[in-house]
């Protein structure tokens, strides 16, 4: 199999009349990486993918493959495999003919074609379905055929447009694992688009978060989750408690942040006394304090809502100064049966919350 390739977007912009779908997006995808473009609908993620594939001509900016500009190339000259939303399998061809299509248009001999098709169908475990038509396959099988068709001609890049969105939850988890294994096995560069943050985090090496056509943050999934740059990222990647306060005093790398009458101790690299700060505190970082236990930050509140999730409890605790805080506790660690109105003491260390920029987006 050929080498994996690197892709760069430089100032990519796409305008439709006065509407800017993609606004000055620059990013690099290294060889063999699995990048996911993640964002809500209308964030421009699909437009970026279509521009990479060559179906959308950018209004400005450039697309580079291994440093070579490919912006003006038509889609058929780019040699990118693509899995479309809804799969776009040719209904008048069998599975094998669908896979043969990209090989035939490249003028490959029949014998070589058959070998490739068999090998690729083996890769996605569909060898026994070669002579079926797409309409005779289940959704998960169709998805795998689409994947096989996109990989059979050993493309420079594999582009995936919401590849799992049409499947039910269980099948989706299964195919997520398959996709990940496949990526590791063939070592090719994958670019995926999704609005599902769990899918993005579990599949990718790198996640690019987009909103309103702009690239908000790019990085490894855990880096994005633990250190979101803005309120939007914190809210879009999982759940978060937002705490807005004012720096009362700075002591080295930490600061005393006052929120109403409560003062928090928070690790903070920037910001001067008097500045307002917005903190994102993940629900699982809040601990329940037993009698006599202490933490760097402590607040008291009463349970206003709770739900049992099997693996854990999700609690909403009303506090005087911090408003309602959401926290999750593993079931095995909950020392009580939660009940509404119960008074609890909560605590978290100074490095649990991350300071975020307020971009006005939840």
């Amino acid at each position: 199999m050929s080498q994996a390739h690197a892709l760069s977007l430089v100032g990519l912009t796409k305008r439709y009349g006065s509407f800017t779908a993609v606004n000055d997006v620059s990013l690099d995808v290294a060889q063999g990486q699995f990048l996911t473009l993640l964002g809500p609908s209308g964030s421009g993620k699909t437009t970026i993918l279509m521009a990479i594939a060559g179906f959308v001509a950018p209004s400005a900016g450039a697309i580079l493959l291994d440093g070579r500009e490919i912006t003006p190339l038509p889609p058929e000259k780019r040699d990118f495999g693509m899995v479309f939303q809804g799969y776009a399998l040719f209904p008048h061809m069998t599975v094998a003919e669908n896979l043969a299509f990209p090989l035939r248009v490249r003028g490959m001999e029949r014998a070589e074609r058959d070998t490739k098709i068999r090998a690729t169908l083996d890769l996605v475990q569909l060898s026994q379905f070669a002579e079926r038509r797409p309409s005779q396959l289940s959704g998960g099988q169709q998805q795998r055929v689409a994947l096989a068709r996109a990989l059979v001609f050993e493309p420079n890049l594999l582009l995936l447009d919401e590849p799992l969105s049409a499947l039910d939850k269980k099948l989706r988890a299964e195919l997520q694992d398959e996709l990940k294994t496949l990526h590791r096995r063939i070592g090719r560069t994958f670019i995926n688009v999704t609005h599902d943050q769990e899918e993005a985090m579990s599949l990718s090496d790198t996640v690019a978060i987009l909103n309103h056509g702009k690239l908000i943050q790019i990085g490894a999934p855990d880096a994005l989750y633990d250190r979101p740059r803005t309120r939007f990222v914190a809210g879009f990647l999982g759940k978060s408690n937002m705490i807005s306060g004012r720096i009362a005093e700075r002591i080295g790398a930490t600061a005393r942040v006052s929120v109403g009458a409560t003062t928090l101790t928070q690790r903070l690299a920037t910001g001067a006394t008097g500045d307002t700060v917005l903190l994102s505190l993940r629900p699982e970082r809040i601990a329940l304090l037993g009698d006599g236990e202490t933490a760097e930050n402590m607040v008291e509140g009463h349970v206003s809502a709770w739900s049992y999730l099997g693996a854990g409890h999700s609690l909403t605790v009303e506090t005087t100064d911090l408003g309602s805080l959401r926290l999750t506790l593993p079931t095995w660690r909950a020392p009580f049966a939660p009940a509404e109105g119960l008074t609890l003491r909560l605590g978290w260390p100074s490095d649990a919350a991350a300071p975020v920029e307020d971009d006005g987006d939840e």
Binding site: F80, V105, R133
Partner: protein, 295 residues
């Protein structure tokens, strides 16, 4: 399959009252049914029966199919003109349907209007309009002569060419509509996918778009061909009585030389030919289902 399941389910809960309800509904269509059988189907069968009763009982009239040069010529002419018309109408109609199918929704509405307007104009008016355009002193010949392209007027009308021009003009909308319907069902993502897989625009058309639009092409072909077998007014006016197609030949047998048996015989042959074409075509439609193009 799913529809069969649904029907069974719907039929199970209340079988008895449903029968009464159905009887009531059937009673409502009874007048229309009686009207059709009494005033339309029965007389037609009667006329068709004449083919084996006049002038004598038996298959004498049908034997003429093998011996009479006149009826053979009419049949061959009808088939030839029908096939030529169908071929040209399909070609023009396919291009038109392709353009309409790929146009923006707003443009599609105007295109459709333009395709449908000719259907609302009387076939008689259109035939005479073609005569004025195509005759020796008509607009086309005059224009070509004034432009110095030809010296003498071309024989554009009162021959097969004139008939074909008039019939194609009539048939194009009928060719466009079924093809357009099947083209509109083609998922545009398939075309994008094909290009993404490395196919040029032409290959995408040849390997993806055309095969997927083929059922519509077949439907249009059958529709246009069946229509052209029974054409009367257009060939009568644009053929100038020199080229006889089946319908005009039947009219001549019955009204001019009063040989009812012969006229009715060819009419019967036409009806059987059309029913056979439809029967064969319904197989083709089933084939399409088997292909899984609908899924």
């Amino acid at each position: 399959m799913s529809s069969a399941v649904l029907t069974t389910r719907a039929a199970v809960p209340a079988p008895v009252p449903r029968h009464f309800a159905n009887a009531g509904w059937y009673a409502l269509i009874l007048p229309a049914f009686l009207l059709m059988t009494a005033i339309y189907v029965a007389p037609i069968l009667q006329v068709l029966a004449i083919s084996v009763t006049e002038p004598t009982t038996g298959l004498d009239n049908y034997e003429r199919l093998l011996t009479n040069a006149g009826v053979q010529r009419a049949i061959v002419t009808t088939l030839r003109i029908g096939l030529i018309t169908t071929a040209i109408a399909l070609l023009l109609g396919y291009v038109l349907a392709y353009v309409v199918a790929l146009a923006s929704p707003a443009a599609q509405r105007w295109w459709l209007l333009a395709v449908l307007v000719p259907l609302w104009i009387s076939v008689l008016v259109r035939a005479f309009a073609w005569v004025t355009l195509l005759r020796r002193q008509g607009l086309v010949n005059q224009g070509l002569m004034n432009a110095g392209i030809i010296d003498a007027p071309l024989a554009l009308v009162w021959n097969e060419l004139g008939i074909v021009i008039g019939m194609v003009h009539y048939m194009v909308p009928y060719a466009v509509l079924p093809m357009l319907a099947s083209m509109r069902e083609i998922d545009p993502r398939l075309l994008a996918a094909a290009r993404g897989l490395g196919a040029s625009r032409f290959t995408v058309f040849r390997r993806v778009f055309f095969p997927l639009s083929a059922p519509g092409l077949a439907a249009s072909g059958v529709l246009v061909f069946i229509f052209s077998l029974g054409f009367y007014i257009t060939p009568a006016i644009l053929g100038g009585g020199r080229t006889l197609m089946a319908a005009e030949w039947i009219k001549m047998q019955i009204l001019d030389i009063v040989r009812w048996g012969m006229g009715a015989m060819l009419a019967t042959v036409l009806v059987i030919a059309i029913l056979t074409t439809l029967a064969v075509f319904s197989r083709v439609v089933n084939l399409k289902r088997l292909f899984g193009a609908g899924a």
